[in-house]
Amino acid sequence: MQLRAQMKDGAADIKVRVSHPMETGQRTDPQTKQKVPAHFIQKMTFAINGKDVAVADMNQAVSSNPLVSVRVKNAKAGDKVKVTWTDNKGESGSAEEVIK
């Protein structure tokens, strides 16, 4: 999971890329000929200094290793950004960064 947060044109520009297969559940494994079960991120939460500022819900239609970005005017250099994701299998991950 990569997270970048920097001030740009008066707003914090927050970009995150999560390494995730985002399996649709429709794909057939070429080796086993079995359907690969759906496995996708459902929720990504963006917080500044511990307060949620945006929550993105998604499904299989978001690409694998998704790149997601949000902007926050109401933030400044030095503030702490935390991005957390959870998927349909209950797996999760998070990353923290200080806004530059």
Partner: protein, 156 residues
């Protein structure tokens, strides 16, 4: 996660959110649901049904205040970068829907302090209109853009 645990968590979440909402007088339809993943919306087979499910209404007004970026032609439907920015006040939520995907709703963002901007990468099964919908001041606004897909990204 087992069904029992999920239901238990759901119940607990609903109770605590209900408590907060009642206590602060913020109880509004649709508001309490926001904390949960909107399964019905994501499984809806039409744009109208998806919008009704996540926004409570499906009628949208076309708006030039929504600036979107999406490619005219996507050579790889598995990775189409799109973004939307709504230059309007009181934006509460934004959604990205791909008309010809089996389930159109791809992403839904609720704002609680972030700017009305959202960028993500989506999959497109075939050439389709992509709808960008914004809820602001209780009303729905939208803009759509056609993306021509030369190799679909949902099959296998």
């Amino acid at each position: 996660v087992s069904h029992t645990r999920r239901n238990f968590l759901k119940g607990t979440l609903a109770l605590s959110l209900g408590g907060i909402a009642l206590g602060s007088g913020l109880l509004k339809p649709g508001r309490v649901e926001a904390a949960e993943w909107p399964k019905a919306g994501f499984e809806s087979k039409s744009i109208d049904d998806a919008l009704k499910s996540v926004f409570g209404a499906s009628a949208t007004t076309a708006s030039g205040a929504i600036k979107v970026k999406a490619p005219e032609v996507a050579e790889n439907g598995a990775q189409v970068n799109v973004s939307m920015q709504a230059d309007m006040p009181n934006v509460e939520a934004m959604a990205i829907l791909v008309e010809k995907n089996a389930s159109p709703l791809a992403a839904f963002m609720s704002l609680s302090g972030a700017d009305p901007f959202f960028a993500t990468s989506i999959k497109m099964a075939q050439t389709s209109d992509v709808h960008f919908v914004v809820k602001a001041g209780g009303k729905l606004y939208s803009v759509k853009k056609t993306v021509k897909v030369t190799a679909g990204g949902c099959g296998g």
